[in-house]
Amino acid sequence: MNNNTKHIAILNASAATAPSAKDALDTTLIYASFEQPISLFYQGEGVRQLVNNQDLTTIHVKDFLKTMSAFSFYDIENIYVCENSLKSRLLAANFHIENVQVLTPHEFANKLHEHQVILRF
């Protein structure tokens, strides 16, 4: 690994039930395990990944959302969610993980612009 540290953003655009949500999570954990500074952004249907009281086992899908509780272990502390995406879906800021920051679209865009590598799933 070379020393050129980058600020990485994973922009989550898919509901928890989409295969790409799991792909985004796997990617996040790999960057974190290589000690790259990584931030998570949830926008659009992506905000549904954070919603409390989901139970994917009801549809025979492994509950990979539980893995997100390991974010603090991996020092993933920058977790941002777009307030407008929550509001337009009538979702309360009631999440199954801690330390999620609800941002206005303007703040959300500002934070996103601090990153050199942005992958969207």
Binding site: N2, N4, K6, I8, S20, D23, D26, I30, Y31
Partner: protein
């Protein structure tokens, strides 16, 4: 030195993949150094040794091979995304170990994506 890594998530039968290839060719022509292509999600199907495209259509696999052979561009396919889609370099057929991934592609973990991200000036996802 302009360095670039590419993430491809679209399958060989999508025009989106042709765009990725043409973008890479433009970059090479402009003197950009391509550190590698990382195939993820449906992108891994590009590496399938056996996918067939009619003769009169754009030959995606031929193009990827040429980029690998003529320009030394490493082509990494994500191992977990591949296995989900039936692609592996460790399959057993008639008691023989074999592969169904074209030899121009390297089976890699997601760690390779981290390496490409940090070693390149820009990462572009297709």
């Amino acid at each position: 030195m302009k360095t670039l890594s590419i993430v491809v998530t679209t399958p060989p039968y999508s025009p989106l993949t042709i765009t990725a290839i043409n973008y890479i060719k433009s970059a090479i022509a402009l003197g950009v150094s391509i550190n590698g292509v990382f195939f993820y999600q449906d992108g891994v199907i590009n590496a399938s040794e056996h996918h067939t495209i009619p003769n009169d259509e754009y030959q995606v696999l031929t193009e990827w091979k040429a980029l690998n052979k003529n320009h030394n561009i490493p082509l990494h396919v994500c191992v977990s995304a591949s296995e989900k889609r039936g692609l592996s370099d460790e399959i057993t057929i008639n008691a023989q170990q074999t592969t169904n991934i074209n030899e121009c592609f390297t089976v890699s973990g997601l760690g390779e994506l981290v390496e490409l991200s940090t070693s390149s000036k820009r990462v572009v996802q297709f």
